[in-house]
Amino acid sequence: MYNFDFEKPSTIADAVSALGSEDAQALGGGQTLLPTMKQRLASPSKLVSLNGIAEMQGICTGDDGALCIGGATTHAAVAAGAGVYPGLAGLAAGIGDPAVRARGTIGGSLANNDPSACYPAGALASGATFVTNAREIAADDYFQGMFTTALDEGEILTEVRFPVPEASNYQKFEQPASRFALVGVFVAKYADGVRVAVTGASEEGVFRWTEAETALSGNFSADAIADMAPGADGMISDLHGTAAYRAHLVGVLTRRAVTAAG
């Protein structure tokens, strides 16, 4: 790890200001960033911890009924406190291990947008709204490929608002070593239709499986997508699974998520 400066502001405004210096980097729970720095693969000049900002902590229900989660809220807090949205609480409860869940934050995960992370699937399937210090971004505009989001340099993800679906479920098939999602599928059924988001599978990062959404919006049952799977083109192929295997798993896990969502 190289030397760096550290700041822990207590307001969003101070955090934005601190992030204005060259090579400054926001720090959530540090579950990806700190190991990367220890490996000397990242060398920010300054870390700006977002964990001291009270208004970025916690979970509440908005006037429109959406579940609003502060960007600095840990996975453990979401697992324990997002009971009105069981699919999302279940997703949070399955991330990493207890130590990761105690430190890692929803904002950190969504800002990093690891192609195998769980939260991007939950947020995209929910059609969540990403609230930053500067604006609001729709989920469909937010994810822009592996490790890439609509966030500008220095922009802070302060809150994520999840419309609560009628039924939901997240199915993760773990990569045997990292236990990240080899493939993860989040299914959310809303009054105006079903959304299906897939993580871990695509070289483009999290994506919506629209073909399944259409079929499930007409008939929310595993039978509606019985033999369906997305194409293998553009799927990740590595030591842990071929593109064809990942495409197959998307179908399997979507069916399981629909059945589990009930």
Binding site: M1, R40, F173, P176, A177, L239, T242, Y245
Partner: protein, 787 residues
């Protein structure tokens, strides 16, 4: 009523108090006054010519003391290989030079280019980044068969090819074996890979070199399974330091699994640099470094053929194996695919004719050497897989086919040069069949099918040769060391004992189990016995811990030394009681005169030895301390039968282990709890190999699974509660304890059972599959099911 003391009792492990309470003393805990830190600049290319190294910028960095490169070691010996294999044609193996720091070329990702010594570790790392190395990339040799092709790039330019040796065993048997295949009623053939593994002990390697200018003494603190072996190899072959001027200390060591047997360049470097700089030099491996610098294990590609007659008797076995040596020969690397592998190809079966061919190959990968089981897992896997396949092809029960071919009379001389002293293979199989509830399997399979899962049952046997080993035999086989073990038993004046042993303990529980043996012999409480190990300054020359040898060889040395103690103590007791030596009996810690009520306590005798006021000084010396060296007459041959039950999810290919039962014959048992633990750990590693672990290289020689993000270690949730039984006991006939060793059995015996079970499950689902290479990851299983 179970015993609470001595042999057969299960006292809790006394060393766990310090291990579990954070009060152990590991090598990295040692801080030598004034120590500097070294960081190794390692190659990120698998194969490259070093055109130049510019140190100017790095030397100007803060805190840098000195930067060493290969040229600093030109007059220094290379890392030696401890075993020479002779090939089929009577020629010695090709043995490349192995410099402490790379000279002229780098040969694997991880090879040391330079070593930066600085005031702090961070300063050393910073300076290493400022070193300007001009590497000219060369084609990487990764695949073993491609490495042997005509015109292949050579890993070592001064060798004739990438072939280390072409070994035939037993070469004279080959025509008869070939003829048996010609005459066979049935031949089963199987091609498979024994996957490359990274040992991953919990504690990464550490080395601290120290030098005393006043005395000229060097000290190396290191994470080793065998400090005396390191002292001998490094002192005699690398640095030219006589043993009396070199002390090697291996304090608490957090797991070895073989990978801490070997003498590594980092140890020699730290010892060398400490003297050159007159300052202690410390190196602590990171986990990332461990993946690319600890010797790897396994990595065999094998074709095995089994010939049977019309009655399904095994008539011959023939194997053709390519064994990966990596870029250099690690300490015992040449012995693993040969003498620890070929000699086990009879398994538990009376196959009369066997021929083993092994081609050891240099590649641009991390050196490969012994890993828990070392050669014997590779032998067991191929043999037990081909027997299973044969049973399936012949439509006979796999257990019945095994039983039909079991060796039943002992001693048994195999056609591959070893003689099994004892065993009862039907006995362990009987135990296993009860444990595994064979009769209930069909009901369990139906229950799995009702859940949409495929259930499979797999069984295998194993035999291993451990308690390594008779020195004169291994000397004939090419070992450049003896393989005895030593113990000094020191009785203190007030009756307590200290045993100084060459057997190192790095998780095995010697500090608990060894005292049980002495307590049993003398009839005292085991708390009166303390074990000292791990420091060449205060233990007799010993060969260390590997090959499941500690109780069989080290324990036997301890018994011999204690016998000498008892013999002398009886003389003292006879004097005290004015009786004849021959009439003295020792029982429950007291000496008595046979046929009388005269008795003296153990403590009275030990006190007399050190306060010899009333003492036969004319006949015997004062004091009570004895040393014994024990060289075994033969290997020991633990054996067993293992069964695994799996469920396969046909939708995803995921395999879960539903049950695992192990029936072992370890001969006599000192501490049943510790033996259970050894078997549990071994099976865990075997399941890891079978389902999860895979050190995979790409075609450029980059290790794809170089961290826990991609290298899958088994975790608690990956393994079931094991059934372990070691009630079937045929004691070893040639060591005084009748023990056989249990450290490697689990890792040897478990992988074939898992794969046999997976194949059985898939076949029950209608898939015409005979084999899937390890690890049977979900993706590989799905691939196999879906063509």
């Amino acid at each position: 009523m179970p015993k609470d003391n001595g042999i057969g009792a299960s006292p809790k492990r006394r060393e766990d108090v310090r291990f579990l309470s954070g009060t152990g003393n590991y090598t990295d805990d040692i801080q030598v006054n004034g120590q500097a830190y070294v960081h190794f600049l390692r190659s990120d290319l698998a194969h490259a010519k070093i055109n130049g190294i510019n140190l100017d910028a790095a030397l100007a960095m803060p805190g840098v003391i000195k930067i060493f490169t290969g040229t600093d070691f030109e007059g220094v010996g290379g890392i030696p290989c401890g075993w020479q294999v002779t090939d089929r044609h009577g020629e010695p193996m090709q043995e490349p030079a192995h410099p402490v720091l790379a000279q002229g070329k780098v040969r694997y990702v991880g090879d040391q280019i330079a070593a930066v010594v600085a005031e702090t570790l961070e300063q050393a790392r910073d300076a290493a980044e400022a070193i300007d190395v001009d590497l000219e990339e060369l084609p990487a040799v990764v695949d073993m068969k491609a490495a042997l092709a005509d015109g292949a790039t050579k890993v070592h330019d001064d060798l004739t090819s990438n072939l280390c040796y072409d070994w035939g065993f037993v070469e004279e048997n080959k025509p008869a074996v070939d003829a048996a295949f010609e005459a066979a009623a049935h031949v089963t053939t199987l091609e498979l890979r024994n996957n490359r593994l990274v040992a991953n002990p919990m504690e990464p390697r550490v080395a601290i070199g120290d030098f005393n200018r006043a005395t000229g003494d060097s000290t190396l603190y290191t994470t080793s399974q065998n400090p005396h072996v390191i002292r001998l190899l490094m002192g005699a072959f690398v640095l030219g330091i006589p043993e009396h001027k070199l002390r090697v200390v291996a304090p608490d060591v957090g797991g070895g699994f073989g990978t801490k047997i070997f003498h590594y360049a980092e140890e020699a470097f730290c010892t060398f640099a400490a003297k050159a700089l007159n300052r202690a030099v410390k190196w602590t491996s990171t986990r990332s470094e461990a993946f690319i610098s600890d010797a790897h294990g396994r990595d065999h590609v094998t074709k095995i053929e089994l010939a049977l007659d019309a009655e399904n008797n095994f008539t011959a076995v023939r194997t053709d194996t390519h064994a990966n040596m990596g870029a250099y020969l690690s300490t015992f690397a040449p012995s693993v695919p040969t003498w620890l592998h070929g000699t086990l190809m009879a398994g538990n079966y009376k196959t009369p004719l066997i021929y083993v061919n092994v081609k050891a190959v240099f590649t641009n990968t991390v050196p490969v050497d012994a890993y828990r089981g070392a050669g014997r897992p590779e032998a067991t896997f191929q043999l037990e897989r081909v027997v299973d396949k044969a049973a399936r092809e012949l439509g006979v029960d796999p257990i019945a086919l095994r039983r039909q071919n079991f060796i039943t009379e002992f001693p048994y001389a195999t056609p591959v040069a070893v003689e099994y002293d004892t065993g009862d293979y039907h006995g362990t199989m009987d135990v296993l069949e009860k444990m595994a509830d064979l009769s209930g399997f069909e009901a369990r399979r139906k229950a799995s099918e009702a859940k949409g899962k495929l259930r499979g049952f797999g069984v295998n046997c194993y035999i291993e040769a451990c308690g390594i080993a008779p020195s004169n035999l291994v000397g004939q086989l090419g070992a450049r060391a003896g393989l005895y073990e030593s113990a000094t038993v020191r009785v203190n004046a007030t009756g307590g004992l200290v045993v100084m042993t060459g057997s190192h303990s790095h998780g095995q529980g010697h500090e608990t189990s060894f005292p049980q043996v002495i307590a049993e012999m003398i009839g005292i409480d085991e708390s009166m016995v303390e074990i000292v190990h791990g420091d060449t300054a205060n233990t007799p020359m010993g060969m260390g811990t590997y090959g499941s040898r500690s109780i069989a060889v080290g324990g036997s040395a301890m018994v011999r030394a204690t016998e000498k103690i008892i013999a002398k103590a009886k003389k003292i007791a006879a004097h005290l009681m004015e009786a004849a030596d021959a009439d003295i009996e020792l029982k429950d810690g007291a000496f008595s005169v046979a046929g009388t009520d005269k008795s003296v306590a153990w403590g009275d005798v030990t006190l007399a030895a050190y306060v010899p006021h009333n003492y036969p000084l004319e006949d015997i010396e004062p004091g009570l301390e004895e040393t014994a060296f024990y060289d075994p007459a033969n290997f020991t041959y633990p054996s067993g039968a293992y069964a695994c039950e799996v469920e396969v999810d046909p939708d995803t290919g995921k395999v879960t282990i539903e049950a695992f039962n192990a029936a072992d014959d370890f001969g006599n048992i000192i501490n049943p709890m510790i033996v259970d633990g050894q078997v549990h750990g071994g099976i865990g590693q075997g399941i890891g190999q079978a389902l999860l672990e895979n050190a995979a290289y790409d075609e450029n020689g980059q290790l794809l699974s170089a961290s826990y993000m991609d290298y899958a270690m088994p975790r608690a949730s990956d393994v079931p509660f094991y059934g372990v039984d070691h009630s079937s006991q045929t004691p070893c006939t040639h060591n005084p304890l009748g023990v056989k060793g249990c450290g490697e059995a689990g890792a040897i015996g478990s992988p074939p059972a898992v794969i046999n079970a997976v194949v059985d499950a898939l076949r029950s689902g209608g898939h015409d599959i005979h084999h899937i290479d390890m690890p049977v990851s979900p993706s590989r299983v799905w691939q196999a099911m879906n063509g």
